[in-house]
Subunit: 289 residues, 2 copies
């Protein structure tokens, strides 16, 4: 069942795009948006991402069937504490955070009986943050990971899944632990590596950077505080991913010898082949049947 | 003085684009193309990248004022040996290779008196290789690095510079040693890191890859044999660059602690800021006065 009253907490790129996508997909729900900056709320109203603006998180959720927390990961605990006393019985809360273990644990601790939490991670976005970059089709054909636990009410999971599906997303489920481990590898580590690639450059070398370098480091352009919170929240997995990347780089360095030339070529071809297969898969997903 | 007779050895993406760009910029020269595959030469003739096709490198250079070697780095020695006896007195030879120390050394050893070599590295291209992707504007506003030595005839350097400038390139000069050190950092290392980022992934994590991961690893899609030759040719600098990247990754890992939260944010913001400044610089270069 789709929500009749939706609350979006944090109307930046993701929150704003959820509102626009709900409108574009003709979901007949009333949307309340919460934000701590009036300017952002005004902009969200102006572009039609929300119907009502609220500068108090608690007040923003009193009537909501579905609440989506779209604030940075570092604010989750504060937001959960603020909304918990105001949620109505039967309300379902989800989020769009890049880590899942901590919020699932916090929600279990901080939300009252009669309220269900289902962790979500819609895999969409960009290094841009503000509602000005919000797009109605940001989620179309993108993957949304849901992380229900053994304790999560199946009906609440279905409700959240139905909502993401109505925005055009593909769905998958895994445990919060699996999610955080995979995302450390495929998302947080690439960000860390891109940032390190920028930081290790001398100014003289940086002057010679081309399109390849800019592409490789694009994700390092994101907001520092936002990524700091994600990195710290997922530090165990990220440290492990960094160690494995270092081992791979050391392995590559060891292949830089004349008598390992054939092995080096195989390693490079294998890497190019894996990426090519991934690209084909992504392209086929973007052209749904 | 622009060349009247130009020979392009290797008519792939770069060689083909040089021919197309010479035509598009109305350079009145006759262009001979050499390639070891008839199919490639036919295609280069068809798209108008060359006027004459030649399946013998020596025959392709007999009348040339300017010869541009566009074969993979690994074939440079062989090509220099093949053309050396056939070059006319006063001919100038250059190249488009991603490494410069080895070809400058080889040219000094293998080319005869009366022939000048000037190393060039036009910083343009993509992970695509074939002449089918050749574009007349591939070099427009891109940077070309020239690596003359103390022994290089200044007139030959000017001739090569004038040619690249006529295709719309910006120019800079440095020593072959400087070139290879900078390029290891800004080009070869990002390629190595992108490839290692792909190789360290599990299949399960790879299933969750988004646009960010594809961008970060785009340059790892290049041809294995081609990059093997570049990596081996520049191995000392690349090994050093890998060591410095590893030190940066270890440093980042050390910041993943609650009491280093502020330092971590500063590190991430600094990285984003350096990249942003670079992006602004690139954008301003693309809009010439």
């Amino acid at each position: 069942m789709l929500p009749l009253r939706l609350s979006i907490l944090g109307v930046g790129l993701l929150g704003g795009s959820i509102g626009l996508a709900a409108r574009a997909n003709s979901i007949p729900c009333h949307i309340t948006g919460y934000g701590h900056r009036k300017q952002t709320l005004d902009k969200a109203l102006e572009v039609g991402a929300i119907d009502r603006a609220c500068e108090d998180a608690g007040q923003a959720v009193t009537e909501a069937d579905l609440v989506i927390i779209c604030t940075p990961v570092g604010l989750f605990e504060q937001i959960l504490r603020q909304i918990s006393p105001h949620l109505k019985k039967g309300a379902v809360v989800t989020d769009v955070g890049s880590t899942k273990r901590s919020i699932v644990r916090l929600a279990g601790k901080l939300l009252g009986r009669g309220v269900e939490f289902v962790g979500s991670h819609p895999m969409a976005g960009s290094e841009k943050r503000s509602v000005e970059f919000a797009k109605a089709d940001l989620f179309a054909n993108a993957l949304c990971i849901l992380t229900p636990t053994a304790k999560t009410d199946p009906q609440a999971v279905e409700k959240v899944e139905e909502f993401w599906k109505s925005l055009g997303m593909r769905l998958t489920r895994m445990t919060p632990t699996q999610h955080d481990r995979y995302l450390a590898d495929i998302s947080h580590l690439p960000h860390a590596a891109a940032a390190a690639l920028v930081m290790m450059q001398t100014d003289a070398a940086l002057m010679l950077a081309g399109k390849g370098f800019l592409d490789t480091t694009r994700i390092a352009g994101g907001d520092g505080a936002l990524w700091r919170d994600i990195f710290l929240d997922n530090r165990d997995n990220l440290k492990s991913a960094i160690r494995r990347l270092i081992r791979n780089l050391e392995g590559l360095s060891g292949l830089l010898e004349d008598d390992k030339s054939e092995k080096l070529r195989q390693w490079l071809d294998q890497s190019a082949g894996r990426r090519q297969a991934l690209l084909q898969k992504k392209l086929s997903e973007m052209t749904p049947d």
